[in-house]
């Protein structure tokens, strides 16, 4: 780490330790439009990386490539030592290692909260029902909504739904959590409860990549901030570097627009 807090590129990790996620020269096209241009990122164990940037800059596409919700066209993606390929077994192995939280929560509306959380453990991890339910209650307690376990998602507030979604991902015991604008669909008064949950998760040592517009969260929780624009990584740095002395013109412009 340099004294200014800037990183030469996104393959330099902020926390010393083993590599958890690696993206090497990743390109992604939607038809003729290139959504990702030569992306190189390395994320270390227990590191929290926040990705910011204007809409359409490829932030969501990048993290959706990591668990294969989108298929990258060129380059390599390696998660916890497993390289993504077209093999469905391989893809599912990577998905078991990574949890994902969506902007629109994507809870299963036909299942109760506890069934939402136990579905993965029972069907994928093959836990017995009782064990899965104990695990679910434990996680729901962790995100502070155990009393809602037998309600349906539609009966909860947005913030509560998003916390259920976090619990649902954690139930798979992932090594990495991906957050795709987790607070963008929430009413303002509910953003904090979700961010607090995420911060607790970060403090417990979870490796996280968070796409967000919450600059407060980036400042407080991130080990590194990546700024993306037009499908490229423009600048990487510690939060201090980023918000106090950004070097790139595009970063300065973006920050001046949102701060």
């Amino acid at each position: 780490m340099t004294s200014t807090g800037a990183f030469a590129d996104a393959t330099q990790m902020g926390v010393t330790g083993e590599t958890m996620i690696e993206l090497i020269s990743v390109d992604k096209f939607f038809g003729d439009f290139q959504a990702l241009k030569d992306i190189n990122v390395r994320v270390g164990l227990q590191e929290v990386v926040v990705v910011i940037g204007p809409s359409g800059s490829g932030k969501s596409t990048m993290i959706r490539c990591i668990n294969r919700l989108e298929v990258h066209d060129r380059g390599r993606i390696i998660v916890n030592g497993i390289e993504l390929s077209h093999d469905i077994k391989n893809i599912q192995e990577v998905r078991r290692e990574t949890g994902m939280v969506f902007q629109q929560f994507n809870l299963f509306p036909h299942l109760t909260v506890i069934d939402n959380v136990t579905l993965g453990p029972r069907q994928v991890r093959k836990l017995p029902k009782k064990e899965a339910e104990e695990l679910a209650m434990e996680l729901l307690t962790k995100v502070q909504i155990p009393e809602q376990a037998y309600k349906y998602p539609g009966q909860l507030s947005g913030g509560q739904q998003q916390r259920v979604a976090i619990a649902r991902s954690l139930a798979m015991n992932p090594k990495v959590m991906l957050f795709d604008e987790p607070t963008s669909a929430l009413d303002p008064e509910m953003i904090k409860e979700v961010l607090d949950t995420m911060q607790e998760l970060a403090e417990s040592g979870m490796t996280m990549i968070v796409v967000t517009h919450e600059m407060g969260f980036a400042k407080e929780v991130a080990d590194r901030v990546i700024f993306m624009a037009d499908g490229e990584i423009v600048e990487v740095g510690t939060p201090e570097h980023f918000f106090e002395r950004p070097t790139e013109a595009r970063t300065k412009l973006f920050l001046s627009q949102i701060l």
């Binding site: 994507n106 509306p109 579905l119 994928v124 037998y150």
Partner: protein, 414 residues
């Protein structure tokens, strides 16, 4: 501020009650042309009511009383009728047990969720199924001896007893409650056919309409789901086969298919395999309906947002499990009205089998009006409404049950 609008007092009623004469003046005779319409339609409605009453008074139900057995069971051998009653007993017993299993499942769910379980009262059941009850009483009113009424009472008693006994069923059966209809159907078949019984080529009358409806739905529904999933399969072979099947069967009139099943299938199937007419028609109806059900289910599958699939994938579910646990349940829930509409149309379409000579309820009614003592007396005006009642009762109950199911499953709607 000089003028302030005062909101109306919350206690003031929005609609003040008016006297009947004022209401009539306001709603029926407000202008000269409204008055004219009121008079015209008043006369029309009155004349229809008068005609209806005169018809109902003049009705002679002799033809129904004489032919009731023909209508219900066709030419089912009289000395074997006990088997049919035994089949009814098996059915009511199965329904009783299955109902109890469903109630107990709901009860267990409510208990684990720590919720109050609202048990439906007998009155609720009556309200839900009264058309069927009324139809049974109506049918029994045409019987010549008291035996059928006594046997019906016995069947009802067996159903209630089965419901009561269902309280003692072990939990592993309750968890696999689909076993009950499965065992029930097998027992039903055995009671009718086993040990020198009556094969399904002699199943006739309203009985055959019911059997084809139930068998048709239970076969066409899973087949339709498979076809709909096949149509979205990533394997081109499966996809094209499904599309071809669906589009060919939807492009053919059902009557053509029935005629094909009745007269041509024998030439298509190689070897000496002979299927009874009943079976061939059942196959034709199932194939035809499954294509329509497939399209309904496809609509349901498309109504499930993409994010649901992604959420399933992201917790590591395989494509099949994502479909099984996430997409399909939501798709089917969204499609309940359309699906039940399809089932109702299947129920009514079972009368089409009369075209190829199967003696179903409609055909039996027609046959009865050609009997020497009832010939050419315009008795179609008696038997056709009689036949219509049977289809109305079933369709109405299905349609109401579908709305009830929709409301119940709507709990988790976002």
């Amino acid at each position: 501020m000089t003028t302030t609008t005062i909101p109306p007092s919350p206690k003031a009623p929005l609609h003040r009650p008016v006297s009947p004469s004022v209401w009539m003046k306001q709603n029926l005779f407000s202008t000269w042309y409204n008055s004219l319409l009121t008079v015209i339609f008043g006369v029309l409605i009155a004349s229809v009511i008068v005609a209806l009453i005169r018809y109902l008074v003049s009705i002679d139900t002799e033809i129904i009383r004489v032919n009731l057995k023909l209508y219900m069971t066709g030419r089912f051998p009289a000395e074997q009728l006990w088997r049919l009653w035994a089949g009814v007993f098996v059915t009511t017993a199965g329904v009783g047990l299955f109902a109890r299993a469903i109630v107990r499942t709901a009860q267990m769910k409510a208990t684990t969720a720590g919720l109050e379980f609202d048990r439906s009262t007998p009155w609720d059941i009556v309200r839900r199924f009264w058309p069927i009850g009324a139809l049974v009483v109506f049918t029994l009113s045409f019987t010549q001896t008291i035996t059928p009424s006594l046997l019906t009472l016995a069947a009802a008693a067996i159903g209630l007893a089965a419901y009561w006994l269902g309280g003692g069923l072990p939990a592993w059966i309750i968890r696999r409650s689909w076993l009950i209809p499965l065992v029930g159907t097998t027992a039903f078949y055995f009671v009718l056919v086993g040990y020198g019984g009556v094969g399904w080529d002699l199943w006739q009358g309203f009985f055959v309409n019911i059997v084809i409806t139930i068998a048709g739905i239970s076969l066409a529904f899973p087949l339709g789901i498979m076809l709909a999933l096949g149509r979205r399969s990533s394997l081109p072979v499966v996809r094209y086969l499904s599309v071809t099947y669906i589009e060919i069967l939807r492009g053919v009139p059902m009557i053509t298919l029935l005629l094909f099943g009745a007269f041509a299938l024998g030439f298509v199937i190689p070897g000496d395999v002979q299927f009874s007419l009943f079976l061939r028609l059942l196959v034709a109806i199932t194939l035809f309906q499954s294509a329509y059900i497939a399209e309904v289910v496809r609509g349901g599958l498309q109504s499930v947002p993409r994010g649901q699939v992604e959420a399933g994938q992201s917790i590591g579910l395989s494509p099949w499990k994502t479909t099984r646990y996430i997409v399909l349940p939501q798709a089917l829930r969204n499609m309940i009205p359309a699906l039940v509409g399809q089932f109702i149309s299947l129920y009514k379409d079972t009368t089409l089998v009369f075209i190829v000579g199967l003696l179903d309820l409609l055909r039996a009614a027609q046959v009865s009006t050609a009997q020497p003592e009832f010939f050419a007396q315009g008795l179609e005006s008696v038997v056709l409404p009689f036949v219509a009642l049977y289809f109305w009762a079933g369709s109405y109950v299905m349609s109401r049950e579908s709305r009830r199911l929709e409301r119940k499953l709507g709990v988790g709607v976002r």
